[in-house]
Symmetry: C2
Subunit: 401 residues, 2 copies
């Protein structure tokens, strides 16, 4: 008799964004006249075309695949050296961070990395998850049977940057710039987490998917800017929001060789680099070759300029929304070093009530804050990923709030 | 203190194909004069360019990604409807197999699917794994902490098609056409497994990655050709060997809605379809859009002809090797409905000794049978995935064996 993983029964029945999609679809069915004018500021998905540098690289790689002499079959599970090198050189070494090419593991998405990383961690870890936060951290831990989970709360008081807890935890998720609040952590704030992790031999999983949206030079873009982080942190990053790769699928995880975890009795320390390498070798087969070339192209001179332009574009959208909210006198966070704006609901509405209110009356899709955890109740997230036209229209509609 | 998954310590230190790559690299370093003439018949990787239909579809999809109006961001985690439909229609419904579009889950590889499927299965399952077989089934079960594993043996007596065991098992891996032996299972043989699974409420994971190499119309290409299989089997298939997609990454798993697994107490039955959908929703973000278009194109009239041509090409290679072995009087299996030829070592050599013997004296890379399990000791695998030129040269060299 085949047994199911019963941990799945403990999950809420549907994933946040599927639920939003369903509600929007229902709204359109019930309001056919308004269906075409719905503006989606819900899911954080890019809308602008791929950078020309990537398009050129994709066409070139596809042509290579059409000719026997340049055709490529299986690539290295960890990614091609050309991309690992480009990443390590441009995102780390050029910023004086000592990351070697083979500490970069190319993958098909940060969501996948954040979930799959649990494969190499043992049972019995106490997990710290920020609240509010991207729901995947919690859900994948529940699926993996990790029940010892504590939440570290982001509140208005701490500017949605949680502080390390008093008790000892073994694995810590951090996400800055934060999804959903748009909060960024200062060097001092990150240092308090790294110091805590070193002291407690904890592992930090640092999700920096929105790192390219940081424009303030004093805000760290990588956890490795903090002394000691090589010994205690994995960093995941993605080309989804920098290069608009959500439909292409390419990301990477940095697993430093200095990073260790421990046997259950605490006596044996193990390099997580070699364990992750083994995991990827047996359960993954690398990222599509043309896609890796497209990612490499983002590091060319042309590509870098286009990434900058793309991020500027979405940040200008964020600015428009922020200004509208400011005029309305609504309290909000984020939007200056992040593509998300975190807003308090009006009149003490619940997050889902606010979601329905904005959809029904303004035709604007947002994300209810409660979908990101208990502490998100009473807030909602507005995403700046949209066309300028739609953002201007959304701002206009919101002005009459 | 972050705890590592100690199950990784139970794995053999390196993955089979990494070990082969290392030995070949060492050989080349020690024999620089012979380095260029080494012929790789080891790993089962395609060598011929992508079908023109896929190349055309890739270029078109890349162009769509360059324009705002046709740009695509996140796709559905389970794959685009256009591809799910093409798969269900062409691989199943046109052959009178009742598979709906939404029972197809598009993924980035069968290796990934075979490993990830364990996420949705509970602890406590007794697992049956054929021996010899593709090492990923065993390794991923060890990683997942499944220790109750029994082997069902492929031997010369059963033509390397194992029979169901006497004892009850909960999860069964089957792979036909088989990797590494090239054996195919008849309808009667598969029926004995399906009947066994239905009787014991077991789950069959049927790996049909090489299904397109079956040319004998009496041999089933899908487990669903067997009555009752919708209730007990997941089927994984790939475009890697049919369309030459090893470097592009696209595959799919079929999870019928009629398929159930059970709560640990055996009292509650659960549809695995919904659990797998939930798993993919939280830990996967879909396959690259241009790659899905390339896979769709394999089902066009032009694409189907090119797939046929590609498979014919590799099967002709297999025929050349088979004829050489036949002339030499060496016993072998496979090669008629599969791209692999499974050969007995000469003079009672161990598999790795035969590997070294063939590499050192003939410059031919094979795969040692012992890498596929204990029952593979004394055999080696020759892969037909190579250029015609190389296969002819390998056959010539082997003739002097």
């Amino acid at each position: 008799m085949a047994f199911v993983n019963e941990n799945f029964f403990k999950l809420s029945p549907s994933y946040l964004f599927s639920e939003i999609a369903k509600r929007v679809s229902d709204f359109k069915t019930n309001n056919p006249d308004k269906a075409d004018s719905v503006i989606r500021c819900g899911i954080g998905d890019v809308t602008e075309p791929l950078p020309a540098a990537s398009i050129k690289a994709l066409h070139k790689a596809v042509d290579e695949m059409a000719v026997r002499e340049t055709f490529r079959g299986y690539g290295p599970e960890e990614g091609y050296e050309f991309l690992r090198h480009a990443v390590a050189e441009n995102d780390y070494r050029s910023r004086n961070l000592s990351i070697t090419d083979d500490e970069i593991f190319v993958s098909d998405g940060s969501k996948c990395d954040c979930g799959n990383i649990l494969d190499i961690l043992g049972k019995g870890n106490r997990i710290a998850i920020p609240d509010p936060v991207y729901p995947v951290y919690y859900d994948t831990n529940i699926m993996a049977g990790n029940e010892d989970i504590i939440f570290v709360n982001g509140t208005e008081d701490n500017g949605f940057v949680p502080e390390p807890p008093f008790e000892k935890v073994d694995v810590i998720y951090l996400c800055f710039p934060n999804n959903p609040t748009g909060a960024v952590a200062t060097k001092e704030q990150l240092k308090s987490w790294v110091d805590y992790a070193l002291k407690n031999k904890s592992l930090i999983i640092f999700d920096a998917a929105y790192g390219d949206y940081i424009r303030n030079p004093d805000i760290p873009r990588s956890i490795y800017e903090i002394e000691g982080a090589y010994q205690c942190a994995i960093e995941t990053r993605s080309f989804s929001k920098s290069g608009g790769f959500t439909g292409l699928r390419c990301a990477f995880a940095v697993v430093p060789k200095a990073l260790t975890a421990y046997s259950l009795d605490g006596e044996k320390s193990v390099s997580l680099h070699s364990v992750w390498k083994r995991r990827q070798g047996s359960k993954f087969n690398g990222v599509s070759y043309p896609v890796q070339r497209a990612a490499e192209a983002l590091y060319s001179k042309e590509g870098q300029a286009e990434v900058r332009q793309l991020v500027d574009f979405y940040m200008n959208n964020a600015k428009i929304i922020a200004e509208t909210l400011r005029k309305l006198g609504l309290p909000f966070w984020g939007g200056d070093n992040a593509p998300y704006i975190w807003t308090k609901t009006i009149g003490g509405k619940s997050s889902w009530d606010m979601f329905s209110f904005l959809l029904d009356n303004f035709g604007i899709v947002t994300t209810p804050g409660s979908g990101f955890g208990k502490m998100g109740e009473g807030y909602f997230r507005i995403s700046a990923f949209n066309s300028l036209e739609n953002i201007k229209e959304a701002a206009k509609r919101l002005s009459s709030l």
